[in-house]
Symmetry: C2
Subunit: 379 residues, 2 copies
């Protein structure tokens, strides 16, 4: 099947899920809408804004749903070329939660602001301030700057309050930049399974943020935004009295990895019970005894966070994935040739980035086909 | 940068490699051409054909180079939608080295033959023969059939000579099918590091093939093709006196995983010294002490075969990859901000499938930009 532009598409609107062409991504619209609404309510009830992270879904349609049902304050993107897709689609408040150092990319970043969109970028090196200001002043636009602080990830980010202060001061002195606040995010710590250990990691993070806030404040520098947080940690940041903006992404779709992290045993929050809304749907294409071979492999889902889980098929589990196949143990032989099987991918972000389409399903029927608008946009 | 169709492109022809936009795939054209030529010479000197596997590169341009310099006899594809790309580009001898069971895909498969292309498909279930014949006869084309035998992978393939015979007989009886021979491939065994253990796995495979050949021959059924083999095993099949066609893919680009497998200690063959021709090129975007952060992560290379290796930068090694970042230990601080770093991906096939372009470089300068023509074609 191809659409009017000749793209290879996995389904048509109105088709039952049992007939869609596989492998493909399926979004359960009811679950997706509930997740988005729930995060909107959580943020609102905690008095913080939610700037949804678009690097997860890379979809203009999902972002619009997050605006309509989730009351998001804007979007995060991770790359300039990704942000271009969302700015071109009309989004007007974008944070690039990353450093931009290449001169060509800095120029592209500045040009995003010519649309009238608010463009915010992260900086962890004072030398970057002059580079950004040069590009912004050349075309007379303003770029907003967050100082990114390292708060345990050991990746990007300033290593001391003094370094953060130097960046803030340089930003304030720059003609075409605005100092907007602090970016503090620890991606790896989102995935710590134990609630107590995760809490400790985020306690450390909040202490680092407070040190920088104290240092800035002692120099009369205020932060409009203190922003960060992901699906594994947002409740810590939201109740910290320090953060005023969350940046969750995976909550909307969920994945097997986030499904394994634990909530507080004694304090289980309903709002953390995110539903699996994203599936890689595959078909049975070969069977031998209690083994079923599916037509989806490493080109349809990534494995760095473990094997996918089988959804709904009794006692079935994934044994192995090869490039284009997955092997399923099916002890009760419940699967039949050409059955469609919903797999919960280990890690949603890079899995979505493999596909061109989301097949959106409600009550077993395809309701819409959404492009993965920024797929492959990694520059 | 965008091309005339508005696609986000990582480079222009004539640009030095130090300026290309990252992350992107780079092909070292000299190394690629030598690999392709070397495999052509190997096949020819061993009296076997080489049907290159296009699932690895998914590129019409690379396939044309394999025709021009490597004397390939045709192409393998793994999916119908992938084969459509190569048939539409003019390739006329395609083996789908996989089972096709969905009725929509079987119809698409049959339609490929209306172009006049020779279309061969693998079958491991006698019920599939009627499905294929129905589709082929409906539009009066011929599909050729290989019986796929399981030879140790425990994935697809018949489990006994009797099952293979039944498929061959049913094919011969079918009005619009032709029985062409045997597909025997063990993907996982390609990657066994020890030469002796790998040799044993392929000895087992060749015995399984011989059993089926004997069984078919005792029923006066001849095999035009006995085909299989990959970059980890081709020398076993080529010298088996049983296989008459190889299906190598990775040899053209190579990856870190295949770089680790061992040749015969006492019998090192020059022809197995494949060069790394594929790189993921990334840029330094943040630095702290002896840590450099690169702008390429899980959306630019897959990790199921391990971390990428750093090419050419002294003592540097990859510590970790996140979604959009890689962390590099740089003990001698040789890397500078915005330096381009060549990474050798762990596993070439799924890594290529993440990208839209190959940036083709010779002597440090971009010579061509080739689309990853069948990227994402997984149906």
């Amino acid at each position: 099947m191809t659409d009017t532009l000749g793209f290879d598409i996995p389904a048509h609107v109105g088709m039952p899920e049992s007939q869609i062409q596989t492998p493909c991504l399926v979004l359960d619209l009811d679950a997706l809408e509930r997740n988005i609404q729930r995060m909107g309510e959580f943020a609102s009830s905690h008095g913080v804004k939610h700037r949804a992270h678009a690097k997860m879904h890379k979809s203009v349609d999902v972002a619009r749903l997050q605006e309509r049902l989730g009351g998001i304050s804007g979007l995060c993107c991770q790359k300039v070329s990704e942000a271009e897709v969302f700015v071109n689609a009309g989004f007007r408040d974008i944070l690039i939660s990353n450093q931009i150092r290449d001169p060509v990319k800095i120029d592209r970043l500045a040009r995003l602001a010519t649309t009238g969109a608010r463009i915010i970028v992260c900086v962890d090196d004072v030398l970057n301030i002059e580079e950004l200001n040069l590009a912004a002043s050349a075309i007379d636009v303003q770029i907003e700057v967050l100082v990114e602080i390292d708060c345990g990830a050991g990746r990007c980010g300033t290593r001391s309050p003094g370094d953060a202060l130097a960046i803030a001061k340089a930003t304030i002195s720059a003609s075409h930049l605005k100092f907007t606040g602090i970016q503090a995010y620890n991606g790896s710590a989102q995935h710590i399974v134990s609630y107590r250990e995760r809490e400790a990691a985020f306690q450390h993070l909040i202490e680092r943020v407070n040190e920088v806030l104290d240092c800035l404040s002692s120099h009369q520098i205020a932060c409009e935004l203190v922003t960060g947080a992901g699906t594994g940690s947002y409740s810590f940041e939201a109740s910290s009295d320090v953060f005023n903006e969350l940046q969750c992404g995976s909550y909307a779709f969920m994945d097997a990895d986030y499904g394994r992290i634990e909530d507080a045993e004694a304090n289980r929050c309903d709002e953390t019970e995110w539903e699996h809304a994203l599936f890689v749907v595959a078909s049975v294409m070969s069977q031998h005894d209690q083994l079923a071979v599916l037509d989806a492999g490493l080109k349809s889902m990534t494995l760095e966070s473990g094997l996918p889980e089988v959804s709904g098929a009794q006692d079935c589990r994934v044994l192995k994935c090869n490039d284009e196949h997955s092997m399923i143990e099916d002890p009760q032989s419940v699967l039949r040739m050409n059955d469609r099987v919903r797999l919960i991918p280990g890690h949603c972000d890079p899995t979505c980035n493999l596909h061109d389409w989301y097949v959106c399903v409600r009550n077993g029927v395809v309701e819409a086909l959404w492009p993965v608008s920024a797929r492959g946009r990694s520059l």
